[in-house]
Amino acid sequence: MIEGARWKKVGAFYIPLWGFIILLLFPFYWMIITTIRPDGELYRPWNARNYNPFWTWNPTLEHIKLLLEETLFTTWLWNTLLISLASTAISLTCGVFAGYALSRLKFRYAGTLGTGIFVTYLVPQTLLFIPLADIIRNFQLGDTPWSLILTYPTFLIPFSTWLMMGYFKSIPKELEECARIDGASRWQAMVYIILPIAVPGILSAGIFAFTLSWNEFIYALVFLSSSEQKTVPVGVVSELVRGDVFFWGALMAGALVGSIPVAVIYSFFVEHYVAGLTGSVKG
């Protein structure tokens, strides 16, 4: 009876759980093993004899070296970092202000504006990239980091506003009122009393915004053209594939190194990230 229950648990719980884990993580393992494997082992036909694709006894840093020394990868890393930080900063400022106004101040059209921002939250980048490319050209912003620093907030602000609104609503109104009785202005009450309490929410929004802008692809693909301006995702796609030739070792090295910054930030703030993710869904 007890034995049976244990096997049932293995069958209904551990096997499916491990199945999910292996399927979800295998591509990352594959990325890592490809990165450190010499070319001679990589390009062996899939049905070659005595060939174990999952392990190598001759690890090499050749691909990473090629990536860092012979491509503009480090430039792309800096570009991506700069663009992500700048657009996150802009979006957080705007999102925190807007979220505060919409959740804690009384004025006409507050509801309509909140709904409006929510609707823009749902607009996918692929709906607007063609006219936006035209506008970026007209503003003379094409092929500069500004084209992304200014457009990324279009999908980051709505989301941070929405998240912050939910967060601000949970803070009691009396706090500001007390501060204002003590002589604080509205601005001071917001900056010194409410924002410090809202730091966890701001952190969640910030981490989420940073990873979103690090991962953005289509705007970066369309708005940037010269190699030195590209971000990691676009650089890896367009510069490491020459014609029909894929340099898989270097490509996987690029994918791996390009993912590390997000992965590190994520690992430090998993709880905040998950709070941002679920908060953005629940509102």
Partner: protein
């Protein structure tokens, strides 16, 4: 406590008469909303109307166009590749959503149990969702490689296949591969969001039902599912929009090929609008995303309304 705080409100409204525009609630709100309004107006509202205008002209890159009415839309409608893209996009959205929902629910239920290393598993499982999609899709492209595919190696050594499978080389198979990668990428988002929903459901309800003799399926059907429905709704609607407007997966895996068989709206719009420079036609194609977006937003708003009452 409650009476004390109402008293302070009464005092605050009477005594507070600071000068300055920002002390007025409406002006303060306007000032706080101003930067957001400028950015969203400039880079969402303006391009939206610009997109509609573009789609009604014959603009190309570098060539200012003239008004041509609905000619682009008629041309697009009679375009076989566009029709394939319509069908692909709908099918893609439908299939992946069903799978992500079912598998996500399953995974969320597994993660809702207590076991050793739960926090680690939960953190690692989100990786496909947080790693830049383009980069992880390249890992898949490498796994689907016609000559060096590790998937072929596995299937061959398990004795399932004897000849290689050209994963991205044939239209139907390529599209299935794309669907698999989308499910792989989106599943963690469903699982973690649904898990958050599950955790708000009190285990006592389950226990009470179990004592009353409800089996596992009945408990899921009559307790978990109804309570989880709001979260499920929102998660699904979000994901439907993202999937419907997807670009990166197809762009990296097949670029719309072979023979334009795997295009979605966004990749086809890119090919026409950016690849060949027919801005107006490209704009018309990407506007095709709009009706679906509109319906989803409408459903969403009707749903959100009750949350938003303040």
């Amino acid at each position: 406590m409650a009476s004390a705080s109402t008293a302070t409100i009464a005092i605050s409204t009477r005594q507070h008469s600071k000068t300055g525009l920002l002390e007025d609630e409406r002006w303060f709100a306007a000032a706080l909303l101003f930067p957001t309004a400028v950015l969203l107006g400039l880079f969402i509202a303006y391009p939206f109307f610009q997109g509609i205008w573009l789609s009604l002209t014959n603009t190309r890159v570098g060539v200012p166009g003239e008004f041509v009415g609905l000619r682009n839309f008629i041309k697009v409608w009679n375009d076989d590749i566009f029709r394939t893209a319509v069908w692909n996009t709908c099918w893609y959205t439908f299939v992946t959503t069903v799978f992500k929902l079912i598998l996500g629910l399953w995974l969320a239920n597994l993660l809702n149990r207590h076991f050793k290393g739960k926090a680690w598993v939960r953190a690692f499982i989100l990786l496909p969702f947080i790693i830049p999609t383009v980069l992880s899709t390249f890992a898949w492209k490498w796994m689907f490689d016609p000559t060096f595919s590790v998937l072929n190696w596995i299937l061959y050594h398990l004795g399932i296949i004897t000849k290689r499978i050209n994963w991205l080389g044939e239209p139907d198979l390529a599209f299935t591969s794309i669907i698999v990668v989308n499910i792989w990428r989106g599943l963690p988002f469903y699982a973690i969001s649904l898990l958050a929903g599950l955790q708000t459901i009190s285990p006592e309800l389950q226990e009470a039902a179990a004592i009353d003799g409800a089996n596992a399926w009945q408990r899921f059907r009559h307790i978990t599912w109804p309570l989880l429905l709001p979260v499920t709704m929102v998660v699904t609607l979000f994901s439907v929009i993202q999937t419907f407007a997807d670009f990166q997966l197809v762009y990296v895996l097949t670029g719309g090929g072979p023979a334009n068989a795997t295009h979605l709206f966004a990749t086809y719009a890119y090919q026409i609008g950016v690849g060949t420079g027919l801005l107006s036609e490209g704009a018309a194609i990407s506007l095709a995303i709009f009706p679906v977006l509109f319906v989803v937003v409408l459903v969403q708003l009707l749903y959100i309304r009750r949350v938003e009452t303040r």
